[in-house]
């Protein structure tokens, strides 16, 4: 074949070490395959023409969800469907699991992963605002060893990540779950299923015994080039029992933080406005989940 397309290589290493070695040596267009639900779509459209595909699903360790020191570790090859069937994870982080389970159909759920969702670096990725709100970290393996990056720092621009040559995401780490905490993720899509978020909000919060919010993280999706962590929005509800006034301030802070574009999925005006609506609704849900009344 004169095209080079016939020379595409596929490898499925069985250890992280092998994967890193292959990636470090690779030349040309190299792509890590986890769930494949983004990569194969881009290949079909001709936007990506890989010379090398590195399938990390044969690395056994990456299929595990484990509980470590109060937190959770989710391997990069764990499908969103299997996250949904993990009861402990769902109990601790219902918002993250719901967000993961919103990605695509049951068919997609059987394949897609939150690590892949994050690596795709789309501002509209469903699981990312929930992960950012949770304070999750990505554990990256590379030729120089391992490093951890907060999820909000992982994507640098639409389609761009902080991954360096030879690196790949091995797992996602969720922090220790404190008592009286809750999280929630909501998105707006035109249909009931099968859509990309037009705008979305993820909120994680912790209450004291009286139901006052002591800590909160608010993240918005699809309103800026990358998922936003909105500190002023968190500030608006910390120290409150999520009264109407706090909710209004939360909504306003969210709308203020938005820097969206008009595109086929929504307008600037719509996104700014509905970001506030979703943030308020997600906050109420998270508050209830944290045991607030």
């Amino acid at each position: 074949m004169l095209t080079g397309e016939g020379l595409v290589q596929y490898v499925a290493p069985e250890t992280t070490k092998d994967a890193v070695a292959i990636l470090a040596k690779a030349r040309g267009s190299t792509h890590v395959l986890a769930g494949g639900s983004d990569l194969l779509v881009r290949m079909k459209g001709g936007y990506v023409e890989p010379d090398l595909i590195v399938d990390i699903k044969r690395i056994k360790k990456l299929h595990e969800v484990s509980k470590v020191a109060g937190g959770f570790v989710i391997g990069a090859a764990v499908s969103c469907a299997s996250m949904g069937s993990n009861k402990a994870l769902k109990k601790a982080w219902p918002g993250i699991v719901e967000a993961a389970n919103l990605i695509g159909s049951d068919q997609i759920q059987g394949r897609c992963t939150i690590a892949g969702n994050m690596c795709n670096a789309s501002p509209a990725a469903d699981s990312v605002p929930a992960l950012v709100a949770a304070g999750a970290r990505a554990k990256i393996a590379g030729p120089k060893g391992k490093r951890a990056v907060l999820v909000e720092k992982f994507a640098t621009a639409p389609g761009k990540t902080c991954l360096k040559k030879g690196e790949f995401v091995e797992r996602i780490e969720l922090p220790k779950r404190l008592a009286k905490s809750g999280d929630a993720y909501l998105r707006f899509i035109p249909r009931t299923e099968m859509d990309i978020a037009v705008v979305s909000a993820g909120i994680n919060l912790t209450l004291d015994r009286k139901g006052i919010i002591t800590d909160a993280r608010v993240a918005l999706g699809a309103v800026a080039p990358t998922v936003l962590l909105v500190a002023p929005a968190a500030k608006a509800i910390v120290g409150t029992a999520l009264d109407d006034d706090a909710l209004e301030k939360l909504g306003a802070a969210c709308s203020n933080a938005c820097n969206p574009i008009d595109d086929k999925r929504g307008t600037v005006e719509f996104r700014i406005r509905v970001a506030a609506v979703l943030a308020k609704r997600a906050a109420k849900l998270a508050y209830t989940r944290a045991g607030g009344k």
Binding site: A12, L40, M43, K44, I53, D55, D106, I108, G110, R111
Partner: protein, 157 residues
């Protein structure tokens, strides 16, 4: 470089050769000859190419053929037991849950996966479980009814 892939398809040992970038959908249709697996979009949005891969419902257009090495695949061609149709197939016929029929293999496979995990789904659960399968002819009404009826029959064993 083309690779040899060994799989179990509908309980038969099947080997095929495919290019690394080739979707499993193309391999099943063009290399194995299982054209009951349909392509409506090639991007995971229509579900016509649904198969069950090692027990998990997936779109075969979003799986590489080479990934199927050592794995078990179920397609619509393997649903009936000889001349005896699967209850879902029977109920799709009885309820006229198909018109043009291009989406039917995908719906049958997705419904089979659903009923395996949830033998008594509500109407809403059926609708959400089948949301990854597009049908443009029926308005879904008769499909949902067929799945409800099949579930009833299957529960009775």
């Amino acid at each position: 470089m083309a690779q040899l892939v060994s799989t179990k398809i509908n309980n038969d040992p099947i080997q095929f050769v495919c290019e690394p970038q080739e979707p499993l959908l193309d391999a099943l249709r063009d290399r194995v000859g299982l054209t009951g697996v349909k392509e409506g979009c090639g991007t995971g949005d229509c579900g016509a190419c649904s198969i069950i891969l090692d027990g998990t419902l997936v779109c075969s257009c979003l799986v590489l053929g080479v990934e199927a090495e050592g794995r078990a695949i179920e397609t619509v061609e393997g649903m009936a037991d000889g001349a005896t149709l699967h209850p879902l197939q029977t109920k799709f016929l009885e309820h006229a849950a198909l018109q043009c029929g291009i989406c039917t293999p995908g719906f049958l496979i997705a419904a089979k996966a659903l009923l395996k995990n949830n033998p008594a789904p509500t109407e809403e659960e059926i609708r959400y479980a089948l949301a990854g399968n597009l049908c443009r002819c029926t308005g879904y009404d008769k499909i949902v009814r067929a799945v409800q009826d099949a579930a009833k029959v299957m529960r009775k064993g």
